[in-house]
Amino acid sequence: MQQADIIHTLSRSLASPMVLAFVLGVIATLLRSDLKFPEGMYMGLTIYLLFAIGLKGGVKLSHTPLIDFLLPGGAAVIMCCIIPVLTYFILHHLAKFDTVNAAAMSAHFGSVSAVTFSQSITYAETAGIAFEGFMPALLAIMEVPGVLIALYIARKKMATDNQNNEVMRELLTGKGIILLIGGILIGLMSGDQGYESVAPLFDAPFKGILCLFLLEVGLVTGRRVGDLRKVGLRLIAFSLLIVGINALLGSLVAAFCGLSVGGIGIFTVLCASASYIAAPAAIRIALPEANPGYYLTAALAIVFPFNVIVGIPLYFKLATYIHPIIAAL
């Protein structure tokens, strides 16, 4: 029965327009279709998504007592420090990737994917699972520290002379962060009344835009699928192993922080997801010698589809098991 339950959850998730749009994009590329989004559309949709997530999160945050946020916020920061170290250990010492590539990949696993996050929000809303309003704030918090830790590791090992401060500034003023944090602050300051005036753009069509965006991500992912053969089974296997460990760790930590079932599910998604928005831009400049064939492939062609198609429903299922157990302790 339990198995039937999981299959049912999975198939319902698979039938959502977002997941199907992603699959359509991958298939279109594999069929060598000439479908291609116009230049700038990817960027435009990303700006919309990040800003919309921020705005909505900010409004919700304005209803949250600060005290409720402290524990999960702290836990998020701690997870961001643990995950890249753990990931580096696995990739370098077990999977035998060299220092710079292992560090670059750790940066991606240590950061978070805003699109996977959006899809998990959509999943929860559609399934009627409630969650804490401050989740987008966690997304914002978890975007940067993992990258910094990974860069720190790379630097310690390689003794490079890179200007730490400049990288730090670039990371903290990166477009993703500006849009997310900016959106949250605007949401906080303008409150319900302000949000209502812009909600017909930033709230109602959000899922539709996400659907369109995932179609485009599918097209991009499809072009990376060829790389999977080149990087081989080693990258695939260890990526999924890392996702699994991070998910398990994340759900336990979230449950201990007293989050609701929905909150545990989303926190798990954050920990298990790999950034392909903030991290690649940073790594390209800070560790130019790392191979995008590894880090982009891992984040975009392995971890992202796994999470969107299989991971998200599983993590929410996991949360329904873990929540009562930890709550009973």
Binding site: Y42, M43, V220, R223, I277, P280, L296, L300
Partner: protein, 101 residues
């Protein structure tokens, strides 16, 4: 009307580096430049989305001296570390004084 020889320096680099490069070549004494958004494939592979940033092509008309000093600057500060390529071609212009000091 007399066409006079001049140099065109073309630099192709990551979008994210463009401001830094422009600052540097301004110090070499250029009087103007033109930027084109391009995509490319080289040793570092292709980019896949425009969020990561694509490449830019920076072109500037300069006299031979400035051309040499730009190439020197790029060789010193970028070629080893970053995805940057550059080349010089010979062109002819009117109004030489507009482009070189």
């Amino acid at each position: 009307m007399k066409l006079v020889p001049l140099k065109l320096v073309t630099i192709i680099a990551l979008d994210a580096l463009s401001e830094r490069i422009i600052k540097d070549i301004k110090q070499c004494g250029i009087k103007g430049y033109t930027i084109t958004h391009v995509e490319g494939e080289g040793l570092q592979g292709k980019h896949f989305t425009d969020w990561e940033g694509r490449n830019v092509r920076i072109e500037t008309l300069v006299n031979e001296e400035v051309a040499t000093s730009i190439m020197q600057k790029l060789a010193d500060a970028y070629f080893d570390k970053y995805s940057v390529i550059a080349f010089v071609s010979a062109v002819e212009v009117l109004r030489r004084e507009k482009f070189s000091g």
